[in-house]
Symmetry: C2
Subunit: 187 residues, 2 copies
DNA sequence: GTCTATATATTGATAGAC
DNA sequence: GTCTATCAATATATAGAC
């Protein structure tokens, strides 16, 4: 029988939590092993380096984010409802006590000299987000493809912009306001 | 006769450059003094701590940002031209070789447990930016105040959103696209 | 696989001479 | 005000016993 939770999983979940709450650089290996309750050598048994831990953190955060979005949205939400649900999703996360904004933006802005691998994961995540918006715009849009693409960019920027405002102001108001605007844009 | 540049100024400009290029935590006191060409004790003669250096960096960046914007915009630009100029300003900065995105967002996202003072400077900066947009919207807007405020938020989110996209993708295309959209919104 | 103990480098900050 | 020398703490990472 396998232990639950296994050491590797405990390390990864602890590191993920700390990376998000404090930032990557502000989180030391020592704090991770202490809070995970394992020895330092055990961490390096499972992860090559701290950077390796970051890659796994980003990979898992990416898949979890979309899983949770899917679980959050009403089963048959598509088109307009799906896009508006995206703002509700952001609002829900922002309201969850200790939100620090988008985890991927956090890492990208903290580490301007990011490794190629880490940046690729982040860009891939945001690309999938844009695809999500685009495909739902196309469902409802009866305009030319060019207009649909422009609306996609507008909604995406509105979404990212309100996330920034919300994080800097420590308030959900920018998200609420952005959703109202999105509602009109999608009429 | 005073030296030029004085030690304090050399420290601050070196620290500012490194904070922006590498991030705050990734920049050590040792690197700052080495590149500034002064002794460590001299740094602590002028600045109480590294956090103190951060506060001065943010304060100066704030005022310089608006100075440079003013200098960048055509003398009589107001209303529509001023807002579109804002996107050109962002584009110009993004094209300047080593751009790492908005300095204030960088700090806020890197340091989620920011001191009250630092966060206040950042929020103040973004508040001034919103005021800039709002006042220029009001010049051209003949709608109700409520609509003007909504348009202000939309433009602000569009501006911040394209900054994020541009930084993550290492491309100016999101800024160019956002300006096109802004142009239509302001018609 | 997990542990203790250690290695080496670097961190932010200070004491005290000049 | 500027310097050299040094501080204690912490960083990431590894060696080797069990």
């Amino acid at each position: 029988m396998k232990q639950f939770p296994k050491a590797k999983e405990r390390i990864l979940s602890t590191a993920s939590r700390l990376f998000y709450e404090q930032g990557f650089q502000a989180t030391g290996i020592n704090q991770i092993i202490e809070e995970a309750g394992i020895a330092k050598a055990s961490l390096y048994q499972h992860f090559k380096s701290k950077d390796d831990l970051l890659l796994e953190y980003l990979t898992i955060s990416d898949s979890k984010w979309f899983e949770h979005l899917k679980a959050f949205l009403p089963a048959k939400a598509d088109g307009r409802a799906a896009i508006l649900g995206l703002f509700d999703y952001r609002k829900k996360i922002a309201l969850a006590g200790d939100s620090k904004g988008c985890a991927f933006i956090r890492v990208a802005y903290e580490l301007p000299l990011l490794t190629h691998d880490a940046l690729k994961i982040i860009q891939s995540h945001k690309s999938k987000l844009k695809n999500f918006i685009r495909s739902n715009i196309r469902i409802l849009d009866n305009h030319a493809p060019k207009d649909a693409e422009e609306l996609t960019e507008l909604i995406l920027n509105l979404y990212e912009g309100c996330g920034i405002q919300s994080t800097l102001l420590r308030s959900v108001e920018p998200i609420i306001g952005a959703k109202k605007i999105a509602k009109k844009l999608l009429n």
